[in-house]
Every structure is written in C-alpha cells, then in structure tokens.
Amino acid sequence: MKRHSLITRVWHWINALALVVLFMSGLNISNAHRHLYWGNYGFDPADAWMSVMRFPAWVTIPQRYDLAEARDWHNTSAWVFAIGLLTMWTASIVTRHFWRDIAMRPGDWSLGALAKAVREHLPGGGADHDSPYNPVQRLSYGIVLGIFLPMMVFTGLAISPGFEVAAPWLIDLLGGRQSARSLHFIFAWALFAFFVVHIVMVLASKPLKQISRMITGGPRKESTDA
C-alpha cells in the first residue's frame, strides 16, 4: 500500500472538520424553512416536493435554533471546504495521484470487476488490505471527489443572490434557485451516506492502522519506489 501523501492527509482532516461544521450548521439552516421545491421559486409548503423533519438541537451548530449564527458557521467554513477541495484537486492532477490511484481503469467498468472486489471483501474473501484501491473504491472515491464534493460548492454558490449575478448560467444549469437548494440538500445527504459507509469500512479493516496511516502517511518502505 502506498503512503498517503502529506497533502492528502492534511486535506482529509481539514475537509472532514469543515464537512462536520457545514453539515451540522446546514441542518440548523434547514430548520428555518423545511420545505424543498423545484424550479426558481417556492414558498408554499403545499408546492414542496419534500418537507423534511425539524432537526433536533443536538445535531445542529449552534446547539439551538439560531439561523444567523448557523449561517456564520456555514458560510465561513464553506471557504475552508472550497479552497481545500480546489487545492486537493490541483495537487491530485499535478502529482498524477488522481490518474494513478483513483481514476477508473479500462477493466474496472464491468459488473464482474466490481462484484469481484465486493466478493473479496466479504467474510473469508481474502482481501489484501495492502493492495492499491480496488475498482469499487476507485469508483466511490471518484464519485465523491468528482461529483458530490464539487456539487456542494456549485449548488451552494447558486443559492447566493450576490454570487448569482456573477454566473447566472450556473443557476440556470441547475434548474433554478430552488432546484439548486434541493440539490444542495440531496448531495449533503449523499455525502452523509458516504461518511457512514466510509466509517464502517474503516472500522471493519484494522481501524487503528487505517487512521494512523491517514495521520502519519503509513510505514516508509525500504525500496524507494513503494
């Protein structure tokens, strides 16, 4: 298994922290108007395609309903998240980390290859945790890094009326402001789902070793080209 590069490790933890703050403050913001719409407008709960639960104070930042303060946490950590994502993507392309480790390979795009990776990870499957990412991992990380995380930035920017004048096409592309807001909510929960699976997978595969690798990078091999 290759070492995690310094930039991967620093980004991973800053991003994790920013996402926790964004998600929890986002739930507080959601409580201000719990109805989601498609199109450009929407204010009447009767027109909502979905009305979501009121999220309890213990899962929100701050730990009481406070839209103004939640917006402060949300919009400030959004800078950390967006700049971090841009930095990580730039580095992954420059160092070719993306092409080497994450991009799907020709043979990956088959149900057989994906099923094989899953089978190897079932009990008794004999998966080798020191090998490079398997096709399921490459696909999952690719979707999260390439779609879920960037979509959070784009849908978030599209909700801002001050940003909209700079790129009105973005709001049109997303189907209008209320569609962008709905998508922001959907992708936030998609990321939450990834977060849960990610944690379960780490816990199921030598968690201490995995976590320490994401902090220290992992053992340095004697051979130079690990």
Binding site: V21, R71, T76, P161, A166
Partner: protein, 249 residues
C-alpha cells in the same frame, strides 16, 4: 476589510468543534473570523461580477402565484390605519441626512419620476423564493435630486413598522444604493403594494436577501456611518439577531 492575523485564523479553525461553538461565535476569534468572512463574501461578489451587474429578470409567466409576506404583515397603529383607509394619499417619504437638498416626497411625486418595472426573484434568508413584478422610481434618482454629499457612505431606510418593540430599519452601501435595480417599489404585479408586502412603499435591493428590502418606508437618510443608529449594526435583524449586514449570501 479588517486585517485578520494568520494566527487568529488558525486559532479559529482549530476551534471549530461543535461543543465550543456558541461561546466562540459570540466573542473571541470565531466572531472576528465571521466578520472577516462577511467582508470576503462582499468583496468576492464585487470582484467576480460588475458592481452594476443586474440580478436576473424573469418573464411575466415565470412569476409565482403570490409573494409571501414575512416579518410585519399588518400595522395596527391608528396613524397607519388612517393612511391605509385613505389609499395612502398623504403618505410622505423624506430624504435627509448628508444631503445638500433634503426632500419630502408625496406618493404623486414618486409616481411622477421615471419608473422602473422589473420582474425579479425575492430570496428570503429562511430559504424560500418568490418571483414578482415590482415598479417604482430608482433610488439613485432620489439621491441625485437630494444631492448626496461625498461624506455619505451608507443609505439608511426607516420604516413605519415595529417588530418585537423595535423600529424596523435597514441600510446599504453606495454600490447597492446606486444600483439600477434598487427601486422604491409602490406597485406589485401592476397593483398598489398590498399591506403584507410593505404598503405603500418598500425597497428592492435585488442582489441581497429579503430582510434588506425594508417595507413601509418613511424616510431615507444618507449617513457616514450607522454606528449611532439604534444598536449600530446597520439594520433591525442585524441588531436583534446578529444577522449579517451584507446579505448577498
């Protein structure tokens, strides 16, 4: 833009975990960072788009069936009820403060000025949006007539409504004050403004969220600073709830 120290930034970032959030937000490094971030949002928006860039305008058939009222929906004072009963015939709007030529305008005066009609989207800080047609004179026309002095940095809007025992008010900087879509609306969808939407006059500040669009407008004041006005944060929600003065995000 406040000069924020690297160490303050790092300290604030390190201090993000939820448990300590509330205390941090009110005082200390996080509060400073939040204020700085508000400036970043404004400067980023103003850098990315032209200062006069227009908010999207829609076609008549893209309007929403109604526009929700929020905040004050009805004003119970005898004075306002009388104005309302007489169709706001005697309603007056003053333009004062740092101006060479203070004005007092009647509804007829405002209707006699060149009018701008725009179908725009109203975005509430809560998250909902509505689309409607607004008409009225541009604020810039009034400011030019009143001859705003160079020392003025902000325009303050004073209102007839009282919420939670406080007078509603708002303020914008000169970029938004002179923006072509910043109008004093007296019509909504071709009819006089309904009471829930701010009759007889309300501001439209199209590139910012709904709470900036002061309703039941009585006075416009040019000021150098809003520090001495009410609690000094530049608006009703800014004072009572610590809402962001720049509401473009």
């Amino acid at each position: 833009m406040p000069d924020i120290k690297r160490r303050t930034l790092l300290a604030g970032m390190a201090a993000m975990p939820a448990a300590a959030c509330s205390e941090l937000a009110e005082t200390g490094p996080a509060g400073d960072i939040f204020d700085a971030a508000e400036d970043w949002h404004r400067s980023a928006h103003r850098t990315l788009a032209s200062r006069q860039a227009l908010a999207p305008e829609y076609a008549p058939d893209e309007r929403s069936p109604d526009i929700r009222g929020n905040g004050t929906l009805k004003i119970e004072t005898a004075e306002y009820r009388e104005h309302k009963a007489s169709g706001f015939a005697d309603w007056q709007l003053s333009v004062s403060g740092l101006v060479d030529n203070p004005l007092t305008l009647s509804m007829a005066d405002l209707r006699a000025l060149p009018q701008r009609t725009q179908i725009t989207r109203h975005d509430c800080v809560e998250g909902w949006s509505a689309i409607a047609e607004w008409s009225g004179p541009q604020l810039s026309a009034l400011l030019d007539k009143a001859k705003v002095r160079k020392e003025a940095n902000f325009i303050v809007f004073r209102c007839a409504d009282v919420l939670y025992g406080r007078d509603y008010y708002e303020s914008v900087d000169m970029v938004d004050a002179y923006h072509p879509q910043t109008i004093i609306a007296h019509e909504l969808n071709g009819a006089p403004l309904p009471e829930k939407n701010g009759a007889p006059l309300r501001m439209r500040i199209e590139r910012q969220l709904g709470y900036k669009h002061a309703k039941y407008l009585t006075a416009i004041e040019a000021v150098a600073s809003f520090e001495d006005i009410y609690d000094g944060k530049g608006g009703f929600w800014e004072d009572i709830g610590d809402y962001q003065w720049y509401a473009g995000i």
